[in-house]
């Protein structure tokens, strides 16, 4: 079998070498560790010993030529072999077997004259073979716009409260945003340009204390996040006339498809990924659901930034999937997963926590069924998806058991009337029951 022997980096920062003399011609025999060729590096003429015993089948370069480290230097094989396998013996540049190659009559001027003037190699070790080209230092970089000044602890607080620091006026030294500035925005005392909505949160069960015992009640101050949620909820509840419509979807095909995707790609497919994929064409068909009511104007968005509710130890947050309409189911699954873990590690940026145009809340993850979600401020609707539960359904005149997915759609009745709501729901149901419809998008 023919062995290729490539010019090694023999540990002195060698990048190339010139063939001085082929000691063993093509067709000649070379023993193990016997010199096969003399090469000249930028430091010395080196006799290169062959790592194999056998017949020299090929010279990687003619005498006088320069060969790079890593290129084939010589091929050693057995009597009668050719290289490359099957090739005729008369390779260009190769002499006939057994006859020493003649030096090229017109040696290629392939040795760059600079080669001799390169940096001397070190006595030990290996230098990188290709120098990285550093960017010119002459070009002055443009000064970026001034960043918001705030201490890390204040940034963290703002993130927890969903306050966009870019919208806050700092009252501290040198315009620094203080903790109080953020709290003021969170409490609504200071107006914020882009309100950050927070989805509905399950209320903790009320504990009843037996009459007569009258222990002192425990007074728990609300966390900042909880206070923000409370303010948002109150604002929404007070200003938005809510209507909620309920329905159930036969999720047989949806769940089968989800399972198949999970098998094929060996990963979890979060329900949100499918629901978001199913809902974006519906939003396109009914733009009122992807809008913001500003005074007497309805701002209809041309982007589909879908908020998904994420349960974190600090409270429920809405993380935003940008341009959801342009993402595949797998792409959405990636994003849902990423946002979920980033939210839990509190690594989400402000821009990932605000500005959604529609919201999906998967309360099924915590076992929920139907609910009456509250429309986040700045949007017109929210869809809550419960847990699929096996239920009897009538199909083709027979009762069958099928997984039914509970849907609850709340919307702003100022913008959307009941009929529109039903049509929205009908199309969504169609999509979820026949996943092929939305996958086609």
């Amino acid at each position: 079998m023919a062995h290729e022997f490539r010019l090694p980096d023999i540990g002195e920062g060698l990048t190339e070498a010139e063939i001085v003399r082929w000691v063993v011609p093509i067709g000649g025999y070379v023993g193990m560790d016997e010199t096969v060729v003399e090469v000249e590096t930028d430091k010395a003429v080196v006799e290169i010993p062959s790592p194999y015993a056998g017949i020299v089948l090929h010279h990687g370069a003619a005498e006088g030529e320069v060969i790079e480290v890593g290129d084939v230097l010589v091929v050693i094989g057995e009597e009668g072999e050719t290289w490359p396998p099957g090739a005729e013996a008369s390779e260009p540049g190769d002499a006939q077997a057994g006859i020493p190659p003649e030096p090229a009559s017109e040696p290629e001027p392939s040795v760059p004259p600079e080669a001799a003037e390169e940096e001397p190699a070190p006595i030990v070790g290996t230098l990188p073979q290709e120098a990285e080209v550093l960017p010119s230092r002459a070009e002055a970089t443009e000064r970026p716009p001034a960043r918001v000044k705030a201490l890390p602890v204040v940034r963290k607080l703002a993130r927890e409260l969903g306050v966009d620091l870019a919208t806050v006026t700092g009252t501290g030294p040198e315009g620094r945003i203080t903790r109080e500035d953020v709290l003021a925005v969170a409490d609504g005392a200071q107006p914020q340009a882009v309100p950050t909505p927070v989805p509905p949160v399950p209320q903790p069960a009320q504990r009843t204390v037996p009459a007569g015992a009258r222990p002192e009640p425990e007074r728990r101050p609300l966390t900042k996040l909880r206070r923000t949620i409370a303010a948002n909820m109150s604002e929404s509840w007070a200003t938005v006339p809510h209507v909620t419509t309920f329905d159930e979807v036969d999720a047989t095909r949806l769940l089968a498809m989800r399972a198949a995707l999970a098998r094929r790609h060996e990963r979890k497919i979060p329900m949100e990924a499918l629901v978001v994929k199913a809902v974006t064409p519906v939003l396109a068909a009914f733009p009122e659901f992807n809008a913001t009511l500003e005074g007497d104007e309805l701002v209809v968005h041309r982007r589909y930034d879908i908020g998904v509710a994420v349960d974190t130890p600090d409270g429920l947050l809405v993380a935003v999937i940008r341009n959801a309409d342009r993402r595949s189911v797998l792409g959405l699954a990636d994003e849902v997963t990423r946002l979920g873990s980033a939210a839990k590690e509190r690594k989400l940026g402000v821009d990932e926590l605000s500005g959604q145009t529609f919201t999906v809340s998967n309360i099924g993850a915590v076992g929920g069924g139907f609910g009456t979600p509250i429309v986040p401020p700045g949007t017109t609707a929210i869809l809550s998806v419960g847990r699929a539960v096996d239920k009897p359904v009538a199909r083709d005149g027979r009762v069958e058991i099928a997984p039914l997915l509970p849907l609850s759609l709340s919307y702003d009745h100022r913008v959307i009337d009941g009929a529109l709501g039903r049509r929205f729901m009908a199309m969504l149901i169609e999509n979820l029951e026949e996943p092929g419809l939305f996958l086609a998008d």
Binding site: I10, E12, E47, P49
Partner: protein, 342 residues
């Protein structure tokens, strides 16, 4: 300069060792030369990192090791593979170190040889400490440290010689004066007439010996070792030899020395004179020569195969030998390293 065997194999005075041991040491020198030439070839094939050859210095190394007890400490350099091997260090670990693997520095439990010193000179002081510890613990072990003529200019040569002499520790200083410290000739290294002369200043014996003469090296180192073992303190031995190869595979000696000088020293080959001596005494023939060469080739081939078959250190293992128990910061860095590789 002490000499027992002339370059043409003539015996001066009495042979310090019998024919059987001479044959064994000759065989060891053949092994050493086989290893050294293989090392040069492997490096040019890209299979070893930089290699520092010792061809021409076999007698100095094999002869010195033969004068030691198997328990005696050896603290040597990157050019002392033959010496280290003769004291028990396996060829495959010597190769492993040259392939760029820390485990080459970890000889078996019973081998009293430190991994080779890469910096010049600092290791001589270690031998003084090792020898002193043996003295304090009342054992009969001694230490031998090997170094080149260049190392005698290092401050640690002075500190080691001085400590050893002041505390009368059982240490043998073996200088292999091979004529060249990379490109600097011995004459430019020191103004002293000989390196052995330097011993006078420390109040210890200094002996110059023909370093290419197996018998003379054995005899002188044996005397020094016996003196150390019997409480007589340290000795400086200057073995005059010659570095026939380059400093390392990255060096080109034609830039600084005449080829004629190299050829002159080739005529003083340390193996050849022992071969002639053995032949004249009916203890050598071509058949035996062929047999030991084949044996050596097989053993060296096996050693490089073992070294190359060893898988590299696993992810994060570079952090595992910093302390006996890794502190929390190293455990954290190890996790970070391993995650980064995934």
């Amino acid at each position: 300069m002490r000499q027992r065997l002339t370059p043409s194999g003539g015996l001066q005075g009495e042979a310090p060792i019998d024919l059987q041991l001479t044959r064994r040491l000759y065989r060891a020198m053949v092994f050493a030369r086989t290893y050294d030439r293989k090392g040069m070839a492997l490096q040019k094939q890209g299979r070893l990192a930089t290699y520092a050859p010792f061809e021409g210095q076999e007698a100095a190394q094999i002869g010195a090791a033969a004068a030691l007890d198997p328990n005696d400490w050896v603290v040597a350099t990157y050019r002392d593979a033959a010496l280290m091997w003769a004291q028990g260090y396996p060829w495959e670990l010597l190769f492993a170190g040259r392939t760029g693997d820390e485990r080459g520095g970890s000889p078996p439990e019973h081998v009293p040889v430190l991994p080779p010193s890469i910096t010049v000179g600092g290791h001589m002081v270690h031998a003084v400490g090792l020898a002193w510890a043996e003295k304090l613990q009342g054992t009969s072990r001694i230490a031998l440290t090997s170094f080149g003529d260049g190392a005698t200019s290092e401050g640690d040569f002075h500190e080691a010689m001085n400590f050893a002499a002041v505390f009368e520790v059982p240490c043998v200083f073996l200088c292999q004066n091979n004529g060249w410290a990379i490109s600097l000739p011995r004459e430019r290294q020191t103004k002293s007439a000989t390196i052995a002369d330097k011993a006078v200043a420390y109040g210890m014996p200094g002996v110059q010996v023909d370093g290419n003469d197996l018998f003379a090296v054995y005899e002188v180192v044996k005397e020094a070792a016996d003196r150390a073992r019997s409480g007589g303190g340290p000795t400086l031995v200057e073995a005059v030899t010659y570095r026939r190869g380059p400093h390392t595979t990255s060096d080109d000696p034609s830039r600084y020395r005449d080829q004629a000088e190299v050829e002159e020293w080739a005529r003083r080959d340390p193996l050849e004179r022992v071969r002639i001596y053995l032949a004249e005494n009916g203890a050598w023939d071509a058949e035996w020569q062929a047999a030991i060469e084949a044996e050596a080739q097989a053993e060296i081939d096996r050693a490089i195969e073992l070294a190359e078959r060893m898988p590299p250190l696993g992810p994060g293992e570079i952090l595992d030998a910093m302390f006996e128990t890794p502190p929390p910061h190293l455990e954290a860095q190890r996790r970070e390293l391993v995650e980064g590789l995934q």
